[in-house]
């Protein structure tokens, strides 16, 4: 067996984006004497939080209330959000964004110097705090830079976690981390582990997500028997650039932009798509469906990357676009050759965010003792069946911090850790990756399998779904599992071997995709982002529950978990 090095900390955070960095800071402040490992497969400032554009939601204005933010979120979730979670979230949200302001985030301001807020989809009033159109970039860098001042945060940059380490008593006490630069395996041992690795949008071919979003944390937990919850709910962002899938923020519509079809009609105003007077500021699931329907009715435009509709910002004028949406202007010019000051931007719905994830309670604790999760990786049930734009960055902060405080307390209750079983598992991981690296044998090409996976997910789990195509998708994905085991890998080097990392990521993607497809197939209704043509209506009688998908060697096993209701009664979701 391979020799491995052992590293000990009190708590371990896997993932260095918004949730992971906020958790690390909260843990460092909760107990300055504890040692916190922050493990990420990239340098934290590369994390995909960086690409969020529009803003982060929290009640700020005198005409707004926590009750309104709560109700908007519950309704946005199509009544599948847990209401005690939502109530806690809206209450903590202003505090968390205020802290970010104190830490230096360059929020855009009103004339009197207070923080400015803008309109966002599904929100009844302006409660989205913004920094022009680069909130994610500024949030990530503010958190990362602030984290540098805590000496008890020990970073493991460019380390890929390939397995959770499980003690003899069944609890999670560490991670096996592959040092990408040296190829060495490290056993990082601690009393608790938090997963903050983001979502897995890359299982789809057309996504706003960066290359790194391969669902790693979800797969790590899933393989240890932790259920993935509500995985069928995939958010299609209405406005992505054709071809690349690059995100064009909802703030374009928050600032007054129009969606138009080939006849120049504002179809959200002209036809009934359920968004009512909200028009372009309806929630994302409804607007994505409306765009697909316009295109299917032949009212889209066609381009080299398929059919699209227009996002028209011209009436906002150059000054406002440059002040509020400068990044959108740059993205339009650079990636589709369109200056939105002069011409409408071509856009189409694009996979953006996973509402589902690792099942946690309100403390971010999973069913596996010692394992926590927060942010997009997790499903704390804030977002239910459809997330409202600008709630997710705030979610990273609120639950990253709460989870970290809770795990700090939990870690104090844990005594001496028996390393033996943990080290054995890490050694086995080292051997596994050694055998994988440059192994030559195997007949399958990595990029080909990834493409097949992407095709299966797009055909089966798109904006509109059908029982037969979902079934086919699940079969295709399950079949790919075997082919991933037979990959041909050609790079034998131990140093920065991105081929072996891609192979590990692909295996994670297949796990996440299989759970997603199985969950989608099991929900025979239409709710939020899950729209099933065979069952076009919401069915509270039979489906007002969370889908729980658990790994088994013979395929995903589907179970249920109650939704926590509260004073907002489920009602027809109409705007």
């Amino acid at each position: 067996m391979s020799a491995i090095d052992l590293y000990r900390h009190d708590i371990i955070i896997v993932g260095g984006g918004g949730a992971g960095l906020r958790a690390a800071i909260a843990a460092a402040e909760a107990d300055p004497s504890q040692s916190i490992a922050l493990v990420s497969k990239v340098y934290p400032m590369r994390s995909h939080t960086v690409s969020a554009e529009g803003g982060a939601a929290a009640v700020a204005r005198a005409d707004d209330t926590l009750e309104m933010h709560g109700y908007d979120t519950v309704k946005g979730s199509d009544f599948l959000g847990d209401q005690h979670v939502i109530e806690y979230f809206v209450e903590e949200a202003p505090k968390e964004l205020t802290l970010l302001e104190h830490w230096g985030l360059p929020f855009s301001r009103n004339e009197d110097g207070t923080v400015a807020t803008r309109a966002f989809g599904g929100m009844t009033t302006k409660r989205t705090w913004y920094a022009a159109d680069k909130i994610g970039f500024h949030m990530l860098h503010t958190l990362f830079q602030t984290s540098l001042k805590y000496d008890n945060i020990v970073r493991y940059d460019e380390h890929f976690v390939s397995k959770l380490l499980i003690a003899n008593d069944g609890s999670c006490r560490g991670v096996a981390a592959h040092d990408i630069r040296t190829g060495e395996m490290k056993a990082i041992i601690g009393k608790a582990v938090m997963l903050t690795t983001g979502g897995g949008g890359k299982i789809f071919p057309f996504t706003t997500n960066g290359m790194i979003k391969t669902g790693d944390g979800m797969a790590l937990a899933y393989r240890e028997g932790v259920p993935l919850k509500d995985m069928e709910f995939v958010q299609y962002h209405p406005t992505g650039l054709p071809g690349t899938g690059i995100l064009i923020t909802e703030a374009t519509r928050g600032e007054g932009g129009y969606l138009t079809n080939k006849d120049g009609e504002r179809f959200l105003v002209e036809r009934d798509y359920g968004v009512g007077s909200k028009a372009e500021l309806g929630p994302r699931d409804m607007i994505s469906r409306a765009i697909v329907q316009e295109i299917e009715a032949g009212r889209g435009l066609s381009g080299p990357y398929g059919d699209y509709v227009n996002l028209d910002l011209r009436h906002l004028g150059e000054a406002k676009i440059d002040e509020r949406l400068p990044f959108v202007r740059l993205l339009g010019r650079t990636y589709v050759g369109v200056d939105p000051v002069k011409d409408p931007l071509p856009i189409r719905p694009v996979v953006h965010y996973m509402m589902g994830g690792v099942d946690t309670d309100i403390d971010c604790a999973t069913q596996l003792s010692g394992l926590y999760a927060a942010g997009e990786t997790a499903c704390v049930s804030l977002n239910g069946a459809n997330r409202l734009g600008s709630n997710s960055l705030t979610e990273c902060l609120v639950f990253g911090a709460r989870g970290a405080r809770h795990m700090t307390q939990y870690a104090k209750s844990i005594g001496q850790i028996d390393d033996k079983a943990l080290v054995e598992q890490a050694k086995a991981e080292a051997d596994r990756i050694d055998q994988l690296r440059g192994r030559q044998k195997g007949g399958e090409k990595l990029s080909e399998i990834r493409r097949k996976l992407n095709e299966a997910m797009e055909s089966g789990c798109g904006v509109y779904r059908q029982q037969d195509t979902m079934k086919a998708c699940l079969q295709d994905v399950s079949q790919l599992r075997g082919r991933v085991a037979d990959l041909q890998l050609t790079d034998p080097s131990r140093v920065f071997n991105t081929e072996v990392i891609a192979a590990l990521e692909l295996a994670n993607m297949v796990d996440v995709a299989e759970a997603l497809a199985a969950s989608a197939l099991s929900r025979k209704e239409s709710r939020g982002a899950h729209t099933c043509k065979d069952y076009p209506h919401r069915d509270d009688q039979n489906y007002l529950y969370h889908t729980m998908c658990t790994f088994s060697p013979s395929g995903p096993v589907i179970g249920k978990k109650d939704v926590t209701l509260g004073h907002w009664e489920p009602e027809e979701r109409k705007y």
Binding site: R46, H102, G104, G113, Q145, L148, L446, S493, V495
Partner: protein
């Protein structure tokens, strides 16, 4: 969409195998709207999976994919291939040790960056319950530009001082330290100015302005260095008059 074949010359280096970096050529069918990164990804996926490079967001904001393209530091996801002829040379960023192929060592930068205390320094932290600070548009614009740095390292590759003096703290670290000095919420300027007066920092800059010319985010680090230089001197002079370091 129109396609042309271009030849890409990539730097290859595996410290386990190679004594020195070498080059390898690949012919790639390039679509007319491709960026440089698209071609490198095509090579990785379809021709030679052993090529190592960093990338993620492909929308010019994560800062991972900086490389030398025909001798100039570029963010490869933002650089159109249509601007180049049929032979394109891709090398790792200059002025950094090479880890492997197109991947460079960033640890030196991370240390330099931390040394300027790139965070809000306050004698007393304000509590969340006290609410946000007020900041005027003028106060925001005093530092906003310098906060746009994505740590892509192009400026270090372009900087003639970094080339000669690898210990030079460099444009991005100075810009980000200066960014906090200029933030109305910060009280840490005297600590950072002390750092800036040390050897190998702002006074090592030779005004080449290369950093600002290659910056893909218009941060203008050269302007930050100049302002930081001035402020570090003023701060020092104040220290002479008022021994406690000024107000």
């Amino acid at each position: 969409m129109r396609e042309v074949t271009k030849t890409f010359v990539l730097t290859r280096f595996d410290p386990d195998q190679d004594e020195a970096p070498r080059t390898q050529e690949y012919k790639v069918p390039v679509r007319e709207d491709w960026k440089v990164l698209d071609a490198i990804n095509f090579i990785k996926d379809e021709i030679d999976p052993s090529v190592s490079h960093r990338w993620s967001c492909r929308m010019a904001v994560c800062g991972s994919c900086g490389m030398m393209v025909n001798g100039e530091p570029k963010l490869t996801c933002k650089t159109a291939l249509s601007d180049y002829g049929d032979r394109v040379e891709i090398e790792p960023l200059a002025n950094f040790p090479i880890v492997r192929d197109l991947v460079v060592e960033l640890e030196g930068f991370m240390d330099k960056f931390k040394s300027v205390k790139p965070w809000i320094v306050r004698a007393k932290q304000k509590a969340a319950e006290e609410g946000t600070y007020r900041q005027s548009t003028e106060e925001l614009s005093a530092f906003k530009q310098f906060s746009m740095c994505i740590n892509c390292m192009l400026c270090y590759s372009a900087c003639p001082v970094v080339a000669n003096e690898p210990e030079f703290i460099g444009p991005a670290a100075i810009a980000l330290g200066h960014r906090y000095n200029m933030d109305s919420r910060d009280e840490g300027a005297s600590e950072r100015n002390q750092r800036f007066r040390e050897e190998g920092t702002v006074f090592s800059c030779s005004y080449a302005n290369e950093c600002s010319e290659v910056c893909p985010k218009d941060v203008d680090p050269a302007a930050a260095v100049n302002q930081a230089k001035f402020n570090a001197v003023i701060d020092w002079a104040k220290g002479l008059v008022m021994p406690k370091g000024g107000s």
